[in-house]
């Protein structure tokens, strides 16, 4: 992993189109501004991982669970 040190107001360019800027630091919280083409999806990593995990759990449905959906 490439590690760079930045101060508030400084940024990092990734390729030609993406810029990450450190906007402010407040204790342990760092506010980051991202300029990227709109076709680049940007999510907090834990949100994306949670969706991955939920999709995996959903795909894990066994046939007997499906029976719950049948008319009774």
């Amino acid at each position: 992993m490439l590690v760079l040190t930045r101060k508030v107001g400084e940024s990092v360019k990734i390729g030609d189109d993406i810029e990450l800027k450190v906007l402010s630091i407040d204790g342990e919280q760092i506010k980051i501004g991202i300029d990227a083409p709109k076709e680049i999806a940007i999510h907090r990593k834990e949100v994306y991982l949670a969706i991955e995990q939920e999709n995996s759990a959903a795909a894990d449905t066994s046939l007997d669970l499906l029976n719950f959906l049948k008319k009774e």
Binding site: A41, H43, E54, A57, A59, L65, L66, F68
Partner: protein, 145 residues
């Protein structure tokens, strides 16, 4: 064409009804072709079945059946990628996670599946709104009268 399904064995599906997920789904990035199979005995549910991998299948339903007030804005980017021009072409589905006991089942309102039913292109989008990927399913609404 004939495909292997997770729940219904080998099945004949209409090739012209294959839905293309250009980016796959989170956790299933390589799965790009799916079909919707009506769930026997309960019209509220469908199975979103990969045409390539039998075990990749999701139970899906309209989120509006469970949450009438569910609304979100579709980003311009999604509209472009799915070539959505009018709302008539859009179908919204949510993935269900069925659990034992059934009352613990949940519906993913945070990451709905958006389908352009006309172009047969789809995407699972992640909303930034305050919806849960594990919203409790109102299971009493899951039964057909």
């Amino acid at each position: 064409m004939n495909i292997e399904t997770k729940y219904f064995g080998s099945m004949l599906v209409d090739e012209n009804k294959v839905i293309h997920f250009v980016k796959g789904l989170p956790g299933f990035q390589d799965e790009k072709k799916f079909v919707l199979i009506d769930f026997p005995d309960n019209p509220l549910f469908q199975i979103l079945q990969s045409t390539v991998t039998a075990y990749v299948a999701f139970v899906v339903a309209s989120p509006y059946h469970f949450r009438e007030e569910y609304t979100f804005d579709l980003g311009e980017q999604t509209k472009e990628e799915l070539t959505i021009k009018t709302a008539d072409h859009v179908k919204v589905l949510s993935i269900l996670t069925l659990r034992k006991p059934f009352e613990k089942s949940t519906i993913n309102l945070q990451a709905p599946i958006i389908i352009n039913v006309d172009a047969l292109k789809a995407q699972q989008i992640i909303l930034t709104d305050d919806f849960s990927a594990r919203t409790p399913l109102q299971t009493e609404k899951a039964r057909v009268e």
